[in-house]
């Protein structure tokens, strides 16, 4: 037996349920509408980074966290993401390899280093130093390697360098093992 009072008491709950139901429906619609676009944007971002590094790239494969780069069917290199522990947090670095020993180039994908100091790891005068080095040459000059640190930002520089070298060695081993 539903009397008026009970209905009045239940009304707020019913109303809230209706509002949530409308919200879920609208959002799932919005999600379906935007999802292909969001995925395309992410693809595009990776592709832009890779073509910046391998201008001859015609297509790439992604398997076991390694991008294999092809130009007209021929393998021209590999790329992967290395994560360094910087001053302000993780630094994500895209590293390209020409072959098992030589670095093709690096680019900083994201970081949270101090603006004006550590953030200069993104500048080309620093990242260009890596191109053409062999993996074991990737170290600071004062540690016996070939890379100049950024003045005043040794922690950030070393974070990038160590992540590139260590991850590169690991990935080369992984590549050797799989072939």
């Amino acid at each position: 037996m539903l009397d008026k009072n009970a209905l009045k008491k239940a009304f707020p709950v019913i109303l809230l349920t209706i509002v949530v139901a409308i919200s879920v429906n609208l959002l799932s619609f919005a999600d379906r509408l935007t999802r292909p676009q969001i995925e395309a944007q992410q693809q595009l971002k990776i592709q832009n980074l890779l073509t910046g590094m391998f201008p001859d790239m015609s297509r790439y494969d992604f398997k076991n966290d390694i991008y294999t780069i092809y130009s007209d069917g021929a393998k021209i290199g590999y790329a992967f993401i290395a994560v360094g522990k910087g001053y302000g947090g993780d630094i994500d670095i895209l590293v390209g390899l020409e072959d098992d020993t030589t670095i093709k180039g690096i680019s900083i994908v994201s970081h949270s280093e101090t603006p004006g100091l550590g953030s200069r790891i993104t500048e080309s005068f620093f990242t260009n130093q890596f191109a053409g080095l062999s993996i074991d040459e990737v170290a600071l000059k004062r540690d016996g390697g070939e890379v100049d640190a950024i003045t005043g930002s040794t922690i950030s520089s070393r974070a990038v360098i160590n992540a590139v070298r260590e991850t590169a060695m690991e990935k080369v081993k992984q590549l050797d093992g799989s072939e």
Partner: protein, 204 residues
């Protein structure tokens, strides 16, 4: 129409959400490292506040007071989710730069505050005017802070890829502290003091 203008204009100065009401400080400090981010945040707040004020004003007579806040929160959270998806699909760089401050618009006191204090008591047209005025006030504050921080903190000014100028001396050695978190507090503190000194705002 006179009322519309009145509700719009008060948001600019008299009830400027950032400087006078000290509302919405979290995003104000976090996204003002560059003008791009400030404008992106303004766009997000505009869409959500406009939507929230309109919907809240439209349903204000049906909603019993006991469920008012939960319903407002669901409405606002849904609007924010749409903006989040919209930005991810269309402006991926901006979406990444704003980070968690985009979903955090949900708890931005400006939005729930306006829905609760204004839109739940006023007709739709006035609520729209209120939303627009508050957003413009928010934008003015953000633009003021971000242009100071970006220009002096990086030594040059560029907006959405258009480069305007590079300062002499500062172009080479910018005042980097201004783009650090501490610099955000400094700029707002000095601006507030300046407004009080010049009489634009009342002192405590």
């Amino acid at each position: 129409m006179g009322n519309f203008m009145k509700e719009f204009a008060k948001g600019l100065i008299i009830t400027n959400p950032v400087f006078v009401l000290a509302l919405g400080l979290c995003p104000t400090l976090a996204v003002t490292t560059s003008i791009n981010n400030a404008l992106g945040m303004t766009l997000a707040v505009l869409i959500v506040l406009l939507g929230a004020n309109t919907i809240v004003a439209a349903i204000r007579n049906f909603v019993p007071s006991i469920t008012r806040i939960p319903i407002f929160i669901v409405v606002i959270a849904s609007l924010v989710t749409m903006v989040d998806l919209l930005f991810a699909a269309n402006f991926p760089d901006l979406h990444e730069a704003l980070g968690i401050f985009l979903p955090l618009v949900v708890v931005n006191c400006i939005i729930l505050g306006r829905a609760e204090a204004f839109a739940s008591k006023n007709p739709i047209l006035h609520s729209v005017a209120d939303a627009l005025g508050i957003t413009v006030g928010f934008m003015l504050a953000l633009l003021m802070i971000s242009s100071i921080r970006q220009t002096l903190g990086t030594g040059s000014l560029s907006v959405f890829g258009f480069h305007f100028f590079t300062l002499p001396i500062l172009g080479k050695q910018p005042i980097a502290i201004l783009v650090l978190p501490a610099g955000a507090f400094l700029v707002i503190g000095l601006l507030l003091a300046l407004f009080r000194r010049t009489g634009v705002m009342k002192s405590d």
